[in-house]
Amino acid sequence: MQTQVLIIGAGATGTGIFRDLALRGVECMLIEQRDVNAGASGGNHGLLHSGARYVTTDPHSANECKVEGDIIKEFAPHCIENTGGLFVAVKGDDEAYVKQFPINCEKAGVPCREISPEEALKLEPNLNPDVIAAYEVEDASIDPFKLSLENVADAEAHGGVYKRYMKLLGFSKDGDTITGARVVNTRTGKKSVIEADQFINATGAWAANVAEMAGANIRMTYAKGSLLVTLSRLNHRVINRLRPPGDGDILVPGGTVSILGTTSVRVEDLDNVAPSIEEINRNIDQGAQMVPALDTCRYVRAYAGVRPLVQLGESSSDRAASRGYALIDHESESLDNFITITGGKLTTYRLMAERCADLVCNRLKVDAPCLTRGTVLPDYVQTEWAEPSILTKREWMRRHNSDDHLLCECEIVPKSAVDAILDSFGPDEKPRIQAVGLRSRVGKGSCQGAFCGARIAAHMYDRDLFEGRDGVDSLREFLSKRWKGQRPILWDAQFNQAELKEALYFGLLNLEMD
């Protein structure tokens, strides 16, 4: 295989570069070891920052967020719920910090408006009645899966080629020039070489590993953040704690749920990241000071993502480390066609993509300008099934086509939606249940895959997508993945739900023995 630019990693940044280059008319290919947003881009809050969060620690990033947030709201409104946000302090919080906040916002060019505690409580009835100060900001919630899937779709519409399940094995070099990337398709086991003029390492937390394969050196640390998903939505706006960034400080609403986070724990092993019970307890204990209902509400799931932090200077704290991005040209390491872009934030992904694409185009002597700033991202991808359903089951039953039926009842995902997802895979891509889960709400409801997992497996067998024991393996993989996020929140009703799942899959179906 051959292309002008090979982008490695299909997170927000990689898919952003993919779209940027495709819009400039550059021939490019995007490869991903797993699937879209497998790393940090799929493990974050889904928060489109107003910038207010960083006004004290990093005014430059704060302003970048403000500017980029406005741009994204303009070009990708269908990926965003423009909720607005609040920063609130409660009794006991540092009043000097509170006083300084609007001044810092002003300095960073981030709009904020003070409102009275009474007004805040009226806007967000679940807030702690002990609110002592509140500011309105321009936070929003963003669907990072839809965003990345749309980026891929738009890039493909402009000639880009996306290949999932492509694991990078190494690079071939000729002097200072990389000539090819050696890859293996993890589904088929087929190895191949992708030749390109330029190689972009957009692998997020894995950037140092990939750079090492190319013979370059990046110093990185990894901060795991763990988050929780509530069964029902508790807030209208994003609610931030008005204090120096800490655990359980942000509650982001999205569709029918709210997401609480996050923690920050240094980790070494990137391939085994799961939220711990201790982190989850910490999030809840802290979050409940802001929104007391967080102490008693039902959670359906927890998850974790890894923030890739590039160590450019001396920094002792991960939380204080700059959330700025790193664009590295590797020229000082005798590599003339390899670029690393990592770090940064979801909110600034477009800017990171633009800067990276500028560097590539400069090298390729392509003078087409960046078009992502003004060009609306079309709504290609059927991701309505990836979003929490606004239909009740009753409404769906009333409306649906008589040939259709629900494969996931918790989240109201019908057979037709699963079919549309399965149809989007090529004949040699061999989708598994996990791929349906990524593109829909399947497995994300209160049963956490117990019933929909079995149904989708049966359906995929009927469509000849599985043969022999493939489906049993896929079911096991799907349930194990869900488990990572279930284990830390197993008490009360979710515990009972998990027991039912175990009784079915182990007691009856013998999945643990097979």
Partner: protein, 427 residues
């Protein structure tokens, strides 16, 4: 609350699952007056398969062909396992009495006395169990013999794909072909549920239509398999008629809950336990059990609030685990819900579940529960009996992992029988 109507009984059974129902049967058969209260839900989660013991040690995934040898090994290796308190004779006697009761009302079971059997599951794996509903027996034999068979599934029935079952078990049962049918008169019901199909199968008209659809496809076939839908009330007659009409053996496969074999058990127990004189209060919750000075227990119960009171000489707690409501987990602890009995459990939530769902050792919390003496009376951490005539039975018991060991119903019936007999001996 003191004005509640009071009834006096020998025994009060809390819970209406397999353990509670068995306890009520055993007690009533021994001439005791019995009141029983519980929800109606959990028994439909039953697959209808009755286990004794199949896997031990769990972490070695060691599968036993002979359930009695497995049981003896467990009793020797795990001195706190419920099976350490009962003998093979107890299990045989308990199942014997239960099967007599079920058989009297038309629900027959089959088994190899000295061996476990393998039942094909709805995802094509094999479940090792002991006693099998008679409607599933032909499937057990056909699987063992790789007999030429036809497996049928139905348009719109989720969670059951004949193709899936056949290809997954393909290396062991190569003579299995598949076919998809439109269930008679089901055009308007999608998804169709096995419970609704089974209701419909009670009608001769539905069955005749189904026979007509199946008959053209029986060439070279010795057995026909379907998901468990052969009626709820007259299953034995439906099976007999079907085998006669089709001229081949017919078998059911278990399905995911709510399953028809579970509904059959529920319907039979709930409908017939009254014939033994048991005073069954369905959809009733027990609100309090208070020891009285005379050694008896005052039990209050009702639908939403206590509306009745029974003073009983003894109490059997067959309340199940978390799903059944016998145990409850908050963010930090596990408690027993009815009497606040001591619960043996891991020190904190970090240890409840392992990080890998499929960890071969299973999850520690699966073995949490109520500890008992050899009469199945709850004991505290010092081994002291908590209440003289209160018994805990079934999955509520600590030191067993029924899901992985495949010993759930065996423990349920054996512990229930032992508890009832111990109570009788106290009188």
């Amino acid at each position: 609350m003191s004005n509640l109507p009071v009834t006096e009984r020998d025994l009060f059974v809390v819970g209406t699952g397999i353990a509670g129902m068995s306890a009520a049967v055993y007690a009533a058969k021994r001439g005791l007056s019995v009141s029983q209260a519980g929800s109606t839900g959990e028994i439909v989660f039953s697959s209808g398969l009755f286990d004794i013991m199949a896997v031990h040690p769990v972490e070695e995934k060691k599968l036993w062909e002979n359930p009695w040898e497995a049981m003896a090994a467990v009793a020797a290796d795990m001195p706190n396992h419920p099976y350490a308190h009962v003998s093979r004779e107890d299990v045989e006697k308990a199942y014997g009495e239960l099967f007599d009761f079920l058989s009297e009302f038309g629900l027959e079971y089959r088994m190899e006395k000295e061996a476990n059997s393998k039942v094909l599951t709805p995802i094509g794996t094999e479940k090792t169990t002991w006693a099998v509903p008679v409607t599933m027996w032909a499937g057990v034999e056909a699987l063992k013999n790789n007999a030429p068979a036809l497996l049928i599934d139905f348009e719109g029935l989720r969670e059951f794909s004949a193709k899936q079952v056949a290809t997954t078990i393909g290396d062991k049962w190569s003579n299995l072909k598949t076919m998809r049918l439109e269930f008679p008169d089901s055009a308007s019901m999608k998804p169709i549920l096995t419970g609704i199909m089974a209701q419909s199968m009670e009608l001769k008209e539905t069955r005749d239509k189904l026979y007509a659809l199946i008959k053209p496809h029986l060439n070279g076939v010795e057995a026909v398999g379907v998901p468990a839908i052969l009626g709820i009330y007259t299953t034995d007659e439906i099976l007999e008629e079907m085998e006669k009409e089709l001229g081949v053996k017919v078998f059911e496969l278990p399905t995911l809950p709510a399953s028809v074999p579970g509904m059959r058990l529920k319907s039979l127990f709930e409908g017939r336990i009254g014939t033994l004189g048991v005073d069954l209060k369905l959809q009733h919750k027990v609100f309090s059990i208070t020891p009285l000075n005379d050694g008896r227990y005052e039990v209050t119960f009702g639908v939403q609030a206590p509306t009745e009171k029974v003073v009983a000489k003894g109490v059997v707690l067959a309340t199940g685990r978390f799903l059944g409501g016998g145990l409850f987990a908050d963010r930090h602890h596990i408690v027993e819900t009815v009497m606040g009995l001591p619960v043996s459990q891991p020190a904190d939530r970090e240890e409840w579940h392992r990080t890998d769902l499929l960890d071969p050792r299973g999850h520690k919390v699966s073995s949490a529960g109520v500890e008992v003496d050899s009469s199945f009376r709850p004991i505290d951490e010092n081994g002291k009996v908590v209440h003289e005539r209160v018994f805990a039975v079934g999955s509520l018991l600590a030191h067993q992992d029924w899901m992985r060991m495949k010993c759930g119903t065996g423990i349920a019936v054996a512990s229930s029988l032992r508890a009832v007999e111990a109570f009788v001996a106290q009188q």
